[in-house]
Amino acid sequence: MKLELRGITKRFGSLVANDNIDLTFETGEIHALLGENGAGKSTMMNVLYGLYDPDGGEILLDDQPVRFAGPGDAMAAGIGMVHQHFMLVPVFTVAENVVLGHEPTSAVGGLIDLTEARRRVKEISDRFGFHVDPDALVEDLPVGVQQRVEIIKALSRDAKVLILDEPTAVLTPQETDELIAIMRQLKAAGTAIVFITHKLREVRAVADRISVIRRGKVVGTASPQDSAADLASLMVGRSVNLGVDKAPAQVAEATFRVEHLTVIDPVGTRVVDDISFEVRRGEILAIAGVQGNGQSELAETILGLLRARSGSITLDGQELLGGSVDDVLRAGVGFVPEDRSTDGLISSFSIAENLILDLHGEPPFARAGSLSPARVAENARLRTEEFDVRLTSIQDPVSTLSGGNQQKVVLAREMSRPLRLLVASQPTRGLDVGSIEFVHKRIVRERDAGTPVIIVSTELDEVLALADRIAVMYRGKIIGIVPGGTDRDVLGLMMAGVPPQAAEHQAAEHHTLLGGSDPAAPADRDEEIP
């Protein structure tokens, strides 16, 4: 089946997200759409999937123009999509999620035929070796498995075109390998695969054809053989500095210590399991791991959002456990939360107010319980200038800013006071290259000023770019702490629970396609666009 987009245009207000896009997807081909965050890839796919109504252009299926009023039409036409944020109902079982929307029903009263639903899941799961339990609750499954559920969902509807939107973002290198194997299997079976990503390495490993999108336009096509640097400059529109400039760490004494920390969630799961580590002044410790292995809980426990069951956390010898969030912040901890829109910013508050969110009770902003609007504004002017936040007015709601500028607001706030520790979770998630560069630079500068820094990231690229040491978490435990620059296959195995020594052995035997020791691209790692 051939799918073609002709002149697709989609606007949101005055912003043109897709500008006259022409693309063709052929049967049995893996077609990569490469573009950085915010380039308009996802918008285009949502148009293709019937979620958005295009403002112009048409979609052709086997040369016949089609119109999709909703995803139902798109699915009926044989288009399946695995969304970046999984479209799974967490409280449903795998089988329920898979059949949702085209449920097999028994003769009586529209009751769902669960046997048939399970059979469908099993069939596809067995065909591709997915090992998915149809009766498991989706919310209990690891993200990698959830993704497979999404693929089963698409395949169970006989998708002839499968769109994968940033599918590798949450996977370990080994899982990514498995995904690539699945993609090739599907391709061989005659499925057209649309692979949306901003990772050059993956594109070059699996794509048959590459289309690069920038600012809503198709700016060119490339072949997998093109060099990473060429692809990167095509994607970003200028030549990019692909590494993070950072001097070797000037490590001083360890001032932050976590000892035997255990956190148990209300259900009784040990989400953080007897963890110990320390961070020294002037170094960046990255906490790596697949999402959902306790990193977020660790960060939240340091901040005092979660209560620990036992253990201790000390900063400069002062115990942080048991204190309130306010106490921890006052002790000099800067905290960049994982999800800035829910935890880091109040979207309806002004930029100026967001810049004092955790400082609002302190002088000079407050005196005797009263806020000083002048000081708040003054602070906002200084900080936004220093962090190069592009804005119209500091009194505008922070929601009017782009993602990158919002993250700068968070960083500007957290770095606007003398820090004794910086904890940054997923500091560059969803940002464009320019913003990523900026954020990384600021974090390194904070390290160089002698602050111990903890970066929590699920992106190996980011971990490798920033970390002086890497602690890998798996099921609430630290599997091992390894130096920065460790082979990504080793890290990948550790993220899957293999201890460091064993991981090294295994990695030496089985290189992944994208692995750091891939002989075809020895220098690739440093060129990675995160």
């Binding site: 999937y49 979620l51 958005y52 909703g70 995803p71 139902g72 039409d73 699915m75 009926a76 999509m81 969304h83 999984f86 479209m87 799974l88 109902v89 967490p90 409280v91 449903f92 329920e96 999620n97 059949v99 949702l100 929307g101 449920e103 029903t105 009263g109 529209g110 009751l111 769902i112 969902k153 035997h260 255990t262 148990i264 969630d265 009784g268 007897d274 963890i275 110990s276 580590f277 320390e278 069951r309 036992s310 040491r469 602690a471 435990k477 630290i478 599997i479 091992g480 702490i481 390894v482 130096p483 460790t486 080793v490 201890p499 460091p500 020594q501 991981a503 090294e504 750091g516 020791s517």
Partner: protein, 433 residues
């Protein structure tokens, strides 16, 4: 490339023996509550009751098929046995909690039942009147019917993501139209058919503002309640009072005892000797319970309420589902309104008197499931029935305090038993494509 040993050994080797045994803290709220309530029961209901008092119970009324004469029990001894039984359960539950084993659901239910019986024995001790148990239970069922329909209406809406605070208004509108139509046609069943229409109209208003104009659903609900009260009051004082014989004297929905079943002692009259609307409630609860959790329709509705975007991506029309469910919910609440006046009662101003809000509480307490709503509504109905019975037979507690009973029960239920519950995730958030 070689792995450099981390500055500290991997955490595993440092693990102290007791680290692995650290477990989640034992929740003490449960045991303390159980034992506390058990002790109160023992001291107040048993030990402080005069030893020679008796409590009389009546388990059948004169109209029942099987006649059982009232019997008396010694108050103190009975309350003592009941309280000790409850305390034993409390201890058992505490032991289970400390052993980190699950406390089975029947334990709190039985515990509550025992304490309640002890309370009844105490409150009626020395009273020359007998406590009519079947009447108490029948009253509980009758009084809970509008609440059950109301909370079913609430959960139909909320399962699809629309918060329905307008249950009160829907009940009232349903009751109003039921009365008028039944009076005009002279047929009580016509009222039963008309009431859902009135409720559905209020539901349509709610969903219009919630989906099309994306106004905060709580606000719309609150205001719709005011509007319905205003409109029905207006119609009552301008139209109904002009011609009460024709417009405001509905016939009674006849009682239809179910053959055989209604002759079972105690249970028969309590459950199977009612009008059609009660049996309809049984059917609606059962059907909704099955449909919501087992059917295609139910799966889609719940998907819309939990994760509308996911539903949209598989071709389910999110807003259409919400519109349909809210209107259906309104109709079910309308039935509750009809049930409220099914005995052939005339319409009076604001006759729902806050039942819609108690229905809302029942829905939350029942955790958004039809059978849970049924149980919770029965609990409130029981509290109300108990208030009436004690009021009627004379009790040492002033009537105002007995009147507070259902409301206090609600607060205890919402705060104590339920605590933080998990409503449908997308509740109250308009879906914008």
């Amino acid at each position: 490339m070689s792995t450099v040993t981390a500055p500290q050994p991997p955490s595993g080797s440092l693990q102290t023996p007791d680290a692995a045994t650290i477990q989640a803290r034992i929740g003490l709220r449960g045991p303390i509550t159980y034992i506390g309530v058990g002790l109160i029961s023992l001291v107040f209901f048993a030990l402080l009751t005069p030893a020679d008092d008796t409590t009389r119970f009546m388990v059948a009324s004169s109209r029942d098929y099987v006649e059982i004469s009232p019997f008396a029990v010694p108050s103190q001894a009975t309350a003592m046995v009941l309280s000790l039984g409850a305390l034993a359960l409390a201890v058992w539950a505490t032991v289970l909690t400390f052993q980190r084993r699950r406390v089975a659901t029947w334990i709190p239910i039985l515990f509550g039942g025992l304490v309640l019986l002890a309370f009844l024995v105490w409150v009626m001790a020395g009273n020359s009147n007998a406590l009519p148990l079947t009447i108490l239970l029948t009253g509980a069922l009758t009084l809970s019917i509008p609440l059950i329909f109301g909370s079913l209406a609430g959960l139909l809406c909320e399962r699809s993501g629309i918060i329905n605070i307008a249950i009160e208004g829907q009940l009232l509108a349903g009751a109003f139209l039921a009365v008028v139509v039944a009076s005009l046609t002279g047929n009580p069943y016509a009222g039963l058919i008309a009431a859902p229409i009135a409720g559905a109209i209020v539901g349509a208003g709610l969903v219009l503002f919630a989906v099309r104009y994306r106004i905060d659903q709580i606000i719309v609900g609150v205001v719709l309640n005011v509007l319905v009260i205003g409109v029905t009051n207006y119609l009552f004082s301008t139209v109904l009072t002009q011609n009460p014989q024709a417009l405001n004297s509905p016939p009674r929905l006849p009682t239809l005892p179910i053959p055989v079943l209604s002759q079972i002692p105690i249970l028969g009259p309590v459950l199977f000797n009612h009008s059609f609307v009660v049996y309809l409630m049984y059917i609606v609860v059962a059907v909704l319970q099955v449909m919501l959790f087992r059917s295609r329709w139910g799966l889609r509705v719940r998907a819309v309420g939990e994760h509308p975007k996911a539903a949209d991506t598989v071709g389910i029309k999110v807003n259409l589902t919400r519109v349909r469910n809210t209107i259906l919910g309104g109709a079910v609440a309308g039935l509750g309104g009809a049930a409220l006046v099914s005995a052939g009662l005339a319409f009076t101003k604001e006759l729902t008197s806050g039942k819609g809000f108690i229905a809302l509480a029942a829905m939350i307490l029942g955790r958004w499931s039809p059978k849970g709503a049924l149980a919770a509504a029965l609990l409130f109905g029981f509290a109300d029935s108990l208030r009436q019975v004690l009021n009627n037979l004379g009790s040492p507690v002033p009537s105002q305090f007995l009147s507070m009973l259902p409301y206090l029960a609600t607060i205890f239920a919402v705060a104590g038993l339920v605590g933080r519950v998990r409503p449908p995730a997308a509740e109250g958030i308009p879906y914008v494509k």
